[in-house]
């Protein structure tokens, strides 16, 4: 079925709001249309401006019906951000799909919510090596880095377009013309070079991982932080109920009780940061952190 001569080609472009997912898909859609294909490009961007994920389906061929690509039918997945690529990777055609990703990480504030000692960001832990191992063809490039070296990190999209151009059969000039007509006039030059670099890089093999991306996301899993036992003692007689600690506790685990005295209402949330004890004008709060010594092996 995949090799039906007239089958629709499916390209899925994903990233985070503000990265230029729509620019990439518009360039591709224009190129396909200029080449005489029927094209549909579909995106849902309700939350795009608020830092959520953005994705755009581009389908082209003699006649395109559905605006969206069925799961498992994506010929090429282009990811402008690493974790967004992983979100969609199961949509790739298992035997023939190509994965093209920028290794750049955009860590959402949501991933940095755990204040427990030793906590790491809740960011996708998968490494480029294990992912590339499982796809038919794949490129994990440092598109942002390459673009930054050329003088404008924002041209990373165009670097990815360069890589994409090696997998589709449109002439290089046609790509360059449409990109030149899409980007702001003063950055035509830089984008032309970004495209050429991305293209050259991807021509270096069917599966490639940039050196900077290699081993990514394993960076400091070795850092070890001893766990501590935290005890919060509040001397009720000294507390005058000013509620400074209640307002300033980052975990919001303190509250004023019926007698207007501070108390630790949610001890499980307390991370032992000691902020309350430093801020209390009456020195009514004492926080002690005792390391839990692990039993010798």
């Amino acid at each position: 079925m995949a090799d039906k001569p007239n089958a629709t080609k499916n390209v899925l472009i994903v990233g985070v709001g503000g990265q230029g997912v729509i620019m990439v898909s518009k360039v591709l859609a224009q190129l396909c249309q200029a080449d005489g294909h029927d094209v549909k490009q579909s995106e849902v961007h309700g939350m795009a401006k608020r830092g959520g994920g953005v994705f755009s389906h581009v389908r082209f061929g003699p006649k395109v019906w559905s605006p969206t690509i069925p799961e498992g039918e994506v010929d090429i997945l282009v990811a402008l951000e690493w974790a967004e690529g992983l979100r969609w990777i199961k949509h790739l055609k298992p035997d023939t799909g190509t994965f093209i990703a920028d290794c750049q990480k955009i860590v959402p504030p949501f991933a940095c919510r755990n204040r427990k000692r030793g906590a790491e960001p809740a960011y996708a832990p998968q490494t480029p090596e294990e992912i590339i191992d499982q796809v038919h063809a794949g490129y994990v490039m440092d598109a942002t880095g390459m673009a930054a070296n050329l003088g404008n990190a924002k041209a990373s999209n165009t670097v990815l377009l360069g890589a994409l151009s090696t997998v589709l059969e449109f002439p290089e000039d046609a790509w360059q013309d449409i990109i030149a007509g899409t980007v702001p006039p003063k950055s035509v030059e830089i984008n032309a070079r970004a495209f050429a670099e991305g293209r050259a890089w991807a021509q270096g093999g069917e599966k490639r991982i940039d050196v900077t991306a290699s081993g990514l996301h394993k960076a400091h899993s070795e850092v070890h932080h001893p766990q501590v036992d935290t005890v919060v003692e509040i001397t009720a007689e000294w507390c005058k109920g000013c509620d400074i600690c209640v307002k300033m506790c980052p975990e919001r685990c303190l509250r004023l009780n019926g007698q207007l005295k501070a108390e630790l209402a949610l001890p499980d949330l307390c991370t032992g940061c000691q902020l309350c004890s430093w801020l209390c004008p009456d020195m009514a709060i004492k926080v002690t952190n005792t390391p839990i010594t692990e039993p010798a092996e």
């Binding site: 992983l86 959402p108 949501f110 998968q126 501590v228 940061c273």
Partner: protein, 606 residues
């Protein structure tokens, strides 16, 4: 869309040319081509870009405006129709709830100049508070609803809708969905029709709905529906696509494309008008096959009608009644119906993807408002806008959110119930306040409710992408207009305790809120700080975290500012914080929260 873009109304693209257009752009083009003279709307995803694009056509051709709400927009269009020109309004599905009062009676009256209503549904709830099916409104109001399947049809149906409206003396719906509205495909353009206006029809029996007139008009509406039903069996809007096999599919809109994707050779009755239904055409189609399967998103409107006609239609037994369809879902439905093999679900990647919820922008003026409300431990009746994002951690301070403009009256009810021990606060954005917040505030004053209303004036309709409203002092075409003064407005309603604050000054704002809450009766606090994204992107010098001073308490992270992340440095087992200088707009809110004074503007190179 910026004003600059809007104002340079390019010469409309020539007829005959094919251009990639979204469904919304194509609907706007259809409006212009039909010679429409007056268009009004209130923004709402996924419909917003329709009116923005209508405003891209020359002002001499068409008057385009933002109205304060959907009912007002509908009434403006109705007025233009009375006056004899073609008129248009667009809204999201829930906007129809607001406009419905005018629609229901106007259906009895009928049109003078053709009147077309674009309603955009949101199956899958990409950006809404429910997924109601607007086709039911069309049935309820007994007006025709056209359902295009792609950009080309969006243009052609919209254009044809005006002629249909005039021919049958009825308002006409064009129903889109998020998928159609936001999908780009090639559209061949036509020229603008020359529509000279008609004179006002001096017909009180038709134009003035008093009971005696309405009773008579109701009969006219029923007869109109009968004539439409008859005509639609032979109309090019509805077509039979013959195919192989004895299972016939009836479908419409975007689901038609999924049907063609899955079963390209099956016999299909494609309905371009889903209300009223073409009785004769459907019966003939059903008689030509052994089984009839209806594929429609959301409600079983067609299926139920077929069953009422005595046709053994199948549909919702295989296809969900909720959520957005996709080729996968339609495939699964056909598999359940025995028409296709099940999909193979060999998913090689088993891991759960990272959560990336939408967040308020870096420097969003709403951020500190909700920090303050959380610190107040108030019971907060929320409303709809960007600020609804404060319902989740780390701001987590909104307790309810119903529909546009609900917050203030919800707070009144909570106060009158007498069960609440916490202070009761309603939060409402500027655009929402003008949309439907003023009558409930009058209600609160009138009934002396002990509540605090927090008006979050960010000088724009932000959630839907930055549209002007009467509080911005600019119209849809970017022309200056008088600016609503919220402070004076609120005072004039009889509110005694009114204060304006800058939400970038956390301490003062907290103080003002505390005083407002302590005030018995209605108090209003207006936070006055522009949105950082629209109408202009605000970017001040970025702040930085001095790593040597940061104690990793992460109190600043409670803002949820997306510019704040963990750095590679640690303090007592916790990550210190750093600021992404490209994302930070320098609002200084985090610096105001930092107890160790670690956050300062990036030092200028000496």
């Amino acid at each position: 869309m910026s004003h600059a873009q809007r104002q340079e109304t390019a010469e409309p693209t020539a007829a005959g040319a094919a251009r990639p257009m979204t469904g919304n752009e194509a609907i706007a083009r259809g409006v212009w081509e039909a010679g429409c003279k007056v268009a009004a709307a209130y923004p709402g995803t996924p419909s917003t870009e329709i009116m923005e694009n209508v405003a891209g056509y020359p002002a001499e051709d068409i008057h385009a405006q933002w109205s304060t709400n959907e009912k007002t927009a509908m009434d403006v269009a109705i007025g233009a129709s009375f006056a004899g020109v073609r008129a248009f309004t667009a809204m999201k599905h829930v906007g129809m709830n607001v406009a419905a009062d005018a629609l229901m009676s106007f259906s009895y009256i009928g049109v003078n100049g053709g009147l077309v209503i674009a309603v955009c549904d949101d199956p899958g709830i990409h950006s809404s508070q429910n997924e109601q099916d607007s086709r039911i409104y069309a049935r309820f109001a007994q007006v025709p609803v056209l359902e295009p399947s792609d950009g080309q049809e969006a243009l052609e149906f919209t254009r044809a809708a005006f002629a249909l409206s005039e021919k049958y003396d009825t308002p006409v719906f064009v129903r889109s969905t998020t998928r159609l509205s936001h999908t780009r495909s090639a559209v061949v353009l036509g020229a603008r029709e020359d529509q000279t206006g008609r004179a006002f029809h001096d017909l009180p029996a038709k134009n003035v709905m008093i009971p005696a007139h309405a009773r008579r008009q109701h009969g006219v509406v029923l007869e109109r529906e009968r004539r439409l039903t008859e005509m639609l069996s032979d109309s090019p809007f509805n077509r039979v696509e013959p195919g192989q096999g004895k299972v016939g599919i009836i479908t419409s809109g975007i689901p038609y494309t999924y049907v063609k994707e899955c079963l390209p050779d099956a016999p299909v009755l494609k309905l371009g008008v889903t209300w009223p239904l073409p009785d004769r055409l459907i019966r003939d189609f059903a008689a030509s096959v052994d089984r009839v399967i209806v594929v429609e998103e959301l409600e079983p409107l067609i299926e139920d009608a077929l069953k009422a006609m005595g046709i053994a239609a199948e549909g919702k037994a295989y296809f969900p009644r909720e959520g957005e369809f996709s080729p996968e879902i339609v495939h699964d439905g056909f598999a359940n119906a025995g028409l296709m093999d099940p999909r193979s679900n060999a998913a090689p990647f088993e891991f759960a993807p990272m959560v990336r919820p939408p967040v308020l922008c870096a420097g969003c003026p709403h951020t500190s408002c909700f920090m303050a409300l959380r610190a107040l431990d108030a019971r907060v009746a929320g409303d709809i806008g960007c600020y609804t994002l404060a319902v989740v951690e780390p701001l987590k301070s909104i307790d309810t959110c119903v529909a546009m403009g609900s917050s203030i009256a919800n707070a009144v009810g909570m106060a009158k119930a007498g069960t609440e021990t916490k202070p009761i606060v309603a939060t409402i954005g500027d655009s929402t306040f003008l949309h439907s917040g003023i009558p409930p505030l009058i209600d609160a004053v009138y009934n002396n409710a002990d509540i605090t209303v927090f008006i979050l004036d960010n000088h724009i309709t932000a959630m839907t992408g930055g549209q002007d409203h009467p509080g911005t002092g600019r119209t849809l075409r970017g022309e200056p207009s008088p600016r609503v003064d919220f402070f004076e407005l609120v005072k004039s309603l009889g509110v005694k305790h009114v204060h304006k604050v800058d939400s970038y000054d956390i301490a003062t704002m907290q103080q003002q809120l505390r005083e407002a809450v302590a005030h018995k009766g209605v108090s209003v606090v207006i936070s006055d700080r522009p949105c950082v994204l629209d109408p202009v992107k605000i970017k001040g010098p970025a702040m930085e975290v001095a790593q040597e001073s940061c104690i990793a308490c992460q109190a600043c992270m409670n803002l949820g500012c997306p510019a704040l992340t963990w750095s590679e440095e640690w303090h007592e087992g916790r990550h210190k914080v750093q600021i992404d200088p490209d994302a930070c707009i320098g609002c200084s809110l985090c610096a105001q929260l930092c107890t160790s004074h670690a956050i300062k503007p990036i030092a200028e190179p000496a």
